[in-house]
Symmetry: C2
Subunit: 202 residues, 2 copies
C-alpha cells in the first residue's frame, strides 16, 4: 500500500520562523529527502560535488536549462542555481517525500513543474512582530532589515496560489497547522492510486 511521495514546498519571509518549523517537522518525520541543487558558483571549503551541490560550469548549466531539466532555477549574485527535475520525480515515484525550502519565485516555478506538490507559506503574525524578530536576532544592519521587510511585503502579496497559509504566532499552533498540511497531502487519492483496490482485495 505504498503511496507516491509528497513534494512539500515551504516558503516564508526571513524571520517568520520557517527554520524552527522545519526542524520540528524533520524531528517528527525524519524520512524527508532533499534534492541536491546544481550551481555555477565555486565549491566552498569542504563542499562535495553530488552531495552539497552539483557544481556545473556556466555552459553545462545553460545546456541543462535549455533542455528544461530544472524544476526551478534562479540567478543570485551572478551565479545560477537550479533544482534538477528528474531525480525529484524519481524520488516521488519511489514514495520518497521531498522537502523544498524555497522563495516565492522558486515555488511558483515548482507549481508549474511539480503539479502534485503541496505548497505552504509561513506568515508572521504582523509586520511589527516580523520587524521585532528581525531586530531581535541582531544579525542584520538597518538597510538589510528594511530590505527584508520590503521583500516580506512583496512575497506575502504573491501567496494566493499556495495551498495553505500558516500564521506563525504561537509556535505550537503553527507547527500543528504545518504538519496538517503535510498529512492531508499524504491522503489525496491521486497520491494513493492503488489504495482502494488493495483494501478491497484484503
Amino acid at each position: 500500500m505504498r503511496r507516491e511521495g509528497i513534494a512539500l514546498v515551504l516558503s516564508a519571509p526571513s524571520g517568520a520562523g520557517k527554520t524552527t518549523l522545519i526542524k520540528r517537522l524533520l524531528a517528527e518525520f525524519p524520512h524527508f529527502g532533499y534534492s541536491v541543487s546544481c550551481t555555477t558558483r565555486r565549491p566552498r571549503q569542504g563542499e562535495v560535488h553530488g552531495k552539497d551541490y552539483f557544481f556545473l560550469s556556466r555552459e553545462e548549466f545553460e545546456r541543462c536549462r535549455a533542455e528544461q531539466s530544472f524544476a526551478e532555477w534562479a540567478e543570485v549574485h551572478g551565479n545560477f542555481y537550479g533544482t534538477p527535475l528528474a531525480p525529484v520525480k524519481e524520488m516521488l515515484r519511489q514514495g520518497q517525500d521531498v522537502l523544498f525550502d524555497i522563495d516565492v519565485q522558486g515555488a511558483a516555478q515548482l507549481k508549474l513543474t511539480l503539479e502534485e506538490a503541496a505548497f505552504a507559506f509561513i506568515l508572521p503574525p504582523s509586520m511589527a512582530e516580523l520587524e521585532r524578530r528581525l531586530r531581535g536576532r541582531g544579525l542584520d544592519d538597518e538597510e538589510t532589515i528594511q530590505r527584508r521587510l520590503n521583500n516580506a511585503r512583496r512575497e506575502m502579496l504573491e501567496t494566493r496560489w499556495y495551498d495553505a497559509l500558516v500564521v506563525n504566532d504561537d509556535l505550537d499552533a503553527a507547527y500543528d497547522a504545518l504538519r496538517a498540511v503535510y498529512l492531508a497531502a499524504t491522503l489525496a487519492p491521486g497520491r494513493n492510486p492503488r489504495l482502494v483496490e488493495e483494501l478491497l482485495a484484503r
Copy 2:
C-alpha cells in the same frame, strides 16, 4: 482576521468507524454547525420542525427541488430528504464551519453545489476487517451484512474525487489524519481572503 467557514463532508461505509471519529472531532472542535435537512416523512414522537427536520409536504419538497434550493437531495424508502443550500451558504459566509455526514451520492452532489467544501472518505483497513466489525456489532442479520459489504465495495470504488482517503486501522492515526484534513482546509488562501492584507496592516 475571520476566515470563511469550512464545509467538511465525511462519508464512510457502515462499520468503518465514522461515528467514533466524528465524536472525537466534535470533542476537539465543538464549534461545528449542522444543517437542518428537509424531509417529506412524518415527524416521529418528539421531533421538532426546524430543529430535527423541516417537515415538508411532497408538493413543497418538489417545489424547492425545482427551484434548485437543495445542496443535495435523495429519496429513501419512498420519502424525500434534502439539504437546503441557502442556510449552509449563509453559515459558511459568517465563518461557521458545517459538518456533513453523508453517503457518496449525497457527497457527490455537494461537490457540485459547495465547490469549496473539503471531502474525506473513511476506509476500513480491509474488507475482512469490515465484515468482522459488522458481525461484532451484532446489529444486522446476514442479509443486511451482505448488503452493507456490497454497498461498501461500491462506495469505495467511487472515491477518486474526494480530497482525502482516511484508512481507519489505528483509531488514533485515523483521527490525526481526519483532523489534518480539517485543519489544512482552514488554511487555504481562498478561505482567508483578507488574511495577508490584515497582517500587512498590523
